[in-house]
């Protein structure tokens, strides 16, 4: 009896700890089949749309999705073979005037084969098709009262290298399929969302001296926030948007500072003579985590704001040089190999500030740029292969990972 009680207690105690890996014994998620009734696009375009619908449904982690591409009329009778599934999601893309694109979505429930969900969406420019699909999947998921995946329609901002000493800042959907360049000319790096509503960004322009700018993505308003010698990066923004964590390097010495937007006051938070960078708020913004080489190699440390004491957070790996924090969780990238002269392996790990558990999130390859989603339930990262890169999404509570192939240039920094 006591053992049973302990087990139950244990389950409750750790149920909400994302560092514990969930090992599923049975997959009882509802099965969904997809049918394409599009009147628009070539075979290749239709495949592209289908892959994104399927990808979105899979990334929710709430469904078991059938990979088969099926064509059908939008109002055709349902193939009885599909009735082994729980749901059928049928969609149709239609052309509108000028650049308009419509997406109609209808979902059927089995075994009754009755339609229970029907919606229509439109965008005024076809390039925005990923947002049609994200919205449709968000609504379908919400209609079934599954935990929200509203983060799918949030923007991602990233800097990409164009050529030597040139980088542009780009806004994208979470799969990086849709892209819109917002800042170009020169070396524009380290973009960071300035507010939770994603109205503006902070970014660094590296000219003769680095300058931190605020840029409103809707009005185009741009203003200079700060300058510093050597280095200036905004690594985190407080929830109310009134405080920034900056890496500045007066006299060539990179340290973490807290910047108060209202007063312009800068407060130095780290005091080590080596490298202290990438600070992020944790534990209700009373503490910060940051990357430091104070042990002779880059690793993740924490300190209380206003105190000089520093606590080592990670006791594993010999090179942990990038991290992202959300509440009590920290995800970091660890270089597992130490090859100066060949390819290295980087894996992602998740830790909690309140326990000693480490959860490995990736198994092989080069996995970098980990970033938490706004709700902290997912981690985005970039995976590099020999000749290609992919954007990865890990759904922490579901122990599921997904990769979207990534074409194009090298990413410098990313914020979700």
């Amino acid at each position: 009896m006591r053992i049973v009680l302990f087990m139950i207690l244990g389950v409750f105690l750790y149920a909400s700890d994302a560092t514990l890996e969930i090992v599923k014994s049975a997959d009882n998620r509802p099965m969904v089949a997809i049918q394409d009734a599009s009147e628009f696009g070539t075979e290749m375009t239709r495949q592209k749309f289908f892959r994104l619908v399927m990808g979105d449904l899979k990334v929710t982690a709430h469904f078991k999705v059938d990979d088969t591409y099926r064509r059908s009329g939008y109002n055709s009778l349902i193939d009885p073979m599909l009735k082994t599934n729980n749901y059928l999601l049928r969609y149709r893309f239609r052309e509108g005037d000028q650049q308009q694109l419509f997406m109609d979505v209808k979902a059927y429930e089995f075994p009754s084969a009755t339609p229970f969900f029907e919606r229509s969406y439109r965008v005024s420019n076809r390039a925005r098709y990923p947002f049609l699909i994200h919205q449709a999947v968000i609504d379908f998921n919400d209609f079934l009262k599954m935990p929200s995946v509203g983060w799918m329609k949030r923007y991602v901002v990233f800097a990409e290298y164009i050529k030597a000493r040139h980088a542009d800042i780009v806004i994208a959907d979470y799969t990086l399929t849709y892209r819109k360049k917002i800042v170009s000319g020169g070396l524009n790096i380290f973009p960071k969302w300035a507010d939770r509503a994603q109205k503006g960004i902070y970014y660094t322009k590296l000219g003769r001296r680095p300058v931190l700018y605020y840029y409103n993505i809707y009005t185009g308003e741009q203003r200079k926030v700060a300058t510093s010698d050597g280095m200036l990066v905004c690594s985190d923004v407080s929830r109310d948007g009134r405080k920034l964590l900056l890496t500045m390097a007066p006299n060539g010495q990179p340290d973490v500072y807290q910047y108060h937007i209202g007063s312009g006051m800068k407060e130095r938070l780290t005091f080590y003579s080596g490298i202290d960078v990438s600070a992020q708020y944790i534990n209700g913004e009373k503490r910060i985590v940051f990357v430091s080489d104070r042990l002779g190699y880059p690793n993740v440390f924490a300190s209380r704001i206003g105190s000089r004491g520093v606590q080592q957070m990670v006791f594993h790996g010999r090179n942990n040089n990038a991290c992202s924090a959300h509440g009590k969780y920290i995800v970091y990238s660890s270089r597992e190999t130490d090859n100066a002269f060949s390819s290295n392996t980087f894996n992602l790990y998740l830790i909690s500030t309140e326990s000693d558990y480490i959860r490995r999130l990736t198994a092989s390859g080069i996995n970098q740029f980990p970033k938490f989603s706004e709700d902290g339930e997912s981690v985005m990262y970039i995976k590099h292969y020999a000749s290609q890169s992919a954007l990865g999404i890990i759904r922490l509570n579901y122990n599921e990972g997904y990769l979207f192939p990534l074409k194009g240039k090298r990413i410098q920094s990313i914020d979700w």
Partner: protein, 183 residues
């Protein structure tokens, strides 16, 4: 005879002036065409004896050319993987740079020290590593007598590779500090 010549001359002048009024306006740009003979403005300068010629314009160009020449002869400083200390084999190169920057031609120039990294780091740490490399070189040059106020530092992280292939020789070339000289 003289009178008739005079009348003929006046008549010709009147005739020509009358004609010129009827002619279309001259397009000046056509006169500057390649086919036209350019008038010399050397006004005897070729034959004046003396030293090398100069003017403010040529002086500026010559000065910039000189600066670029010093910049090219400055030695790049290379670093080990993930490190920002100066390797023993790089110390003579720092000595040479210190001598060069203290030379008569360079002593008034500002030295921009640029730190660079290979592609293996990500995000902020790489930029900080580049900056620390620049700072180590600045401190070494300072010890060797270069005034700190002449030196500015910047880090380009992994954004400014000299070699973009994914091989070890490339990565080693990219982990470097290099110099730009500013008037």
């Amino acid at each position: 005879m003289k009178k008739s010549l005079f009348i003929a001359a006046i008549a010709a002048a009147l005739l020509m002036s009358g004609c010129s009024q009827k002619e279309p306006e001259v397009d000046m740009t056509q006169q500057e065409g390649a086919g036209q003979q350019a008038t010399s403005a050397d006004t005897g300068l070729d034959t004046i004896q003396g030293s090398t010629e100069s003017s403010d314009l040529m002086g500026e160009d010559a000065r910039m050319a000189k600066i670029r020449q010093i910049e090219t002869s400055a030695k790049k400083i290379y670093f080990d993987f993930d490190k920002y200390n100066i390797r023993p084999d790089q110390e003579p190169r720092v000595d040479e740079d210190a001598k060069l920057f203290a030379s008569e031609d360079a002593k008034d120039l500002t030295i921009k020290i640029e730190g660079n990294c290979d592609e293996w780091g990500t995000d902020e740490y790489n930029y900080a590593l580049g900056l620390k490399r620049a700072k180590t070189v600045r401190d070494a040059l300072s010890v060797k007598g270069i005034d700190e106020s002449r030196m500015v530092m910047v880090s380009y992280g992994e954004s400014n590779p000299v070699c973009t292939e994914h091989r070890k020789e490339c990565w080693a070339q990219n982990r470097r500090v290099e110099f730009k000289l500013l008037p």
